[in-house]
């Protein structure tokens, strides 16, 4: 894709907050709603003499994510100090990983407008989050509850070429970390934050242009809009004969533009060196293999399986695999109903609609997958019609009762007795003699649909529609 003869080059760094109970180097809680500085300890506020001890879970989650991203896992990785002064980093340095990160050389695959795209993952390294500053003009207030929460920073190769690809890359990472259950994925609370490096170059140029960093964007829609704006801004500047300055810019969602952060006089000089307070992270082959074995099936593989093994269309498979709980719900439903397509349809239309209108998550669904599966099986067995099933579904949603109970209590069983249906058909035909005449003489167009509707109505929707059709066809010959 070309923009006025220029090609954008985009790389993304995503900070994923790992959902451990405690911080990466101390046993402080990581709860989001804690009172000011409640989740702190001498380690997380950087008291002299305090010593960090690494959290096993943070390492395991990092390995798990690295494996899901197709990365190589370093058997020996090293924590390093990244030195800079800012009050939200109480020690005067952030503990991160530098030249020996835990995960390297992976890739992810996703589709943008139906076209498969492969994006390389350069690395994913562990680091600690900073505290939260609240700037109030004359002074700044600092809360260290977030300081030390484990982050995995996932760095992409500069393989991304369009704003839409960038947003989809972000969504794919978000989906994967939620599937893995290593991050709660809450974008509003900052559990996943994107920094985008954007540059432009003349189409065909070998060298990259000067890159600008867009920081801390917390929605994928904004990632797309911010990059779109930034590409145009850079091309405009180049066309005016200006030079692109390497800088950090922020996205202003209200004004739909990026703006320059205070430009730093000095280039950053972090003086990384191995943290002498921490041992290298030695990971055994056994641990890596154990985590690899326990990896859940990832969304792309699962969507493929839903297509090949369950015969679902791609669009259904993609919708059902957006979230792991939804895919699990579908599989449990299909297992009970033995009808893949029908299970998919009921979930995608009725269930998702109810969940959306009531603002509920799939795990809070009052209907359990087994119940929905049973209901679908009852349709396929002919016990209830598809139309009646909608009533049963509503009742299940309201009361959470079993479908059989509802059918029994409300007398919703489908009438499949030919004699009983014939009786209703006769009544309907007798009441509509003129229409019968017109149908038979061909005076009016095919009135079969009208008669079927009338019979179904007369049976309160309980007549077996196939039988109604069959009997009507015979009678109207």
């Amino acid at each position: 894709m070309s923009y006025r003869g220029f090609e954008p080059v985009i790389g993304i760094e995503i900070h994923v907050q790992l959902s451990t109970k405690t911080k990466i180097f101390s046993a402080d809680a990581t709860t989001f709603d804690a009172a000011d500085n409640e989740n702190t300890s001498p380690i997380s506020v950087g008291m002299p003499g305090s010593l960090p001890v690494v959290n096993r879970k943070a390492i395991e989650y990092s390995i798990k994510t690295g494996l899901a991203l197709g990365c190589e896992i370093r058997r020996k990785s090293v924590f390093a100090r990244k030195n800079y002064f800012y009050p939200d980093s109480p020690k005067g340095y952030q503990i991160s990983q530098y030249d020996q990160p835990i995960c390297e050389k992976g890739q992810i695959v996703f589709k943008v407008d139906g076209v498969e795209k492969v994006i390389g993952i350069t690395r994913a390294h562990m680091e600690e989050d900073a505290g939260k500053s609240n700037h109030l003009g004359d002074y700044t207030l600092i809360n260290y509850n977030r300081a030390g929460i484990p982050l995995l920073e996932i760095v992409s190769e500069p393989d991304i070429r369009t704003p839409a690809e960038a947003a989809e890359y972000g969504r794919t990472i978000h989906q994967i970390v939620r599937y893995l259950d290593v991050c709660d994925g809450n974008l509003e609370e900052g559990s996943l934050r994107c920094d985008c490096n954007v540059s432009v170059r003349k189409v065909g140029a070998a060298q990259f242009g000067t890159k600008v960093e867009l920081k801390n964007i917390n929605s994928f829609r904004f990632v797309e809009k911010a990059i779109e704006y930034e590409i145009e801004r850079q091309i405009d500047a180049i066309e005016r004969g200006e030079k692109i300055i390497q800088e950090t810019r922020l996205w202003d969602p209200d004004k739909n533009r990026t703006f320059s952060m205070r430009t730093k006089e000095d280039a950053q000089d972090y003086r990384y060196f191995p943290d002498p307070d921490l041992l290298p992270v030695i990971v055994s082959d056994e641990l890596v293999e154990k985590i690899r074995k326990d990896l859940p099936e990832l969304p792309i593989a699962r969507a493929k399986r839903f297509q090949t093994e369950h015969g679902l269309p791609e669009s259904d498979a993609l919708v059902l695999t957006t979230e792991k709980p939804l895919a699990d719900f579908y599989e449990a439903t299909a297992q009970e109903s033995k009808n893949y397509k029908s299970s998919a349809n009921w979930i995608m239309t009725e269930l998702l609609r109810e969940l959306n209108t009531t603002n509920k998550k799939i795990k809070d669904s009052p209907i359990r997958p087994e119940q929905l599966g049973k209901m679908i099986a009852l349709i396929d067995k002919g016990t209830i019609s598809g139309k009646i099933a909608k009533t049963v579904f509503q009742e299940m949603w309201q009361s959470g009762k079993e479908p059989e109970t509802i059918i029994k209590e409300k007398g919703l069983v489908q009438v499949s007795d030919p004699a009983a249906i014939e009786k209703i058909v006769d009544e309907v035909l007798a009441a509509n003699a003129q229409n019968v005449e017109d149908h038979k003489s061909g005076k009016k167009k095919n009135l079969l649909g009208f008669f079927v509707g009338a019979v179904m109505k007369a049976s309160k929707g309980q007549a077996n529609p196939d039988l109604v059709n069959k009997i009507l066809l015979e009678k109207l010959k």
Partner: protein
């Protein structure tokens, strides 16, 4: 060698305010230290793994169990300035 400009850069990164004289003095001192490292750097280290830590013990990992041993009041007790239980610092933007 390490010149005055480099010393001033390092001082700035460390948020140290140094005088002209001190810059000259440190330049000479650090220059000596660096030239000693240059001597060490001449030693042939082919085939030797970089040493990250002198201890040979395997990694020690903590289990992910919450231990809240201090209150927010205690953790902010030594703060030169605070507002409630928040640390109060000079403006940074």
């Amino acid at each position: 060698m390490i010149d005055k400009k480099a010393i001033e850069h390092i001082a700035k990164l460390a948020r140290l305010s140094i005088t002209e004289e001190e810059a000259h003095e440190y330049s000479a001192q650090l220059g000596k230290a660096l030239s000693h490292f240059e001597l060490i750097a001449k030693i042939n280290t082919d085939g030797i793994e970089p040493l990250v830590t002198p201890t040979e013990i395997e990694s020690f990992w903590r289990e992910d169990v919450v231990k809240q041993e201090f209150t927010a009041e205690e953790m902010t007790a030594n703060a030169p300035a605070k507002a409630g239980n928040l640390f109060k610092v000079p403006p940074v933007v």
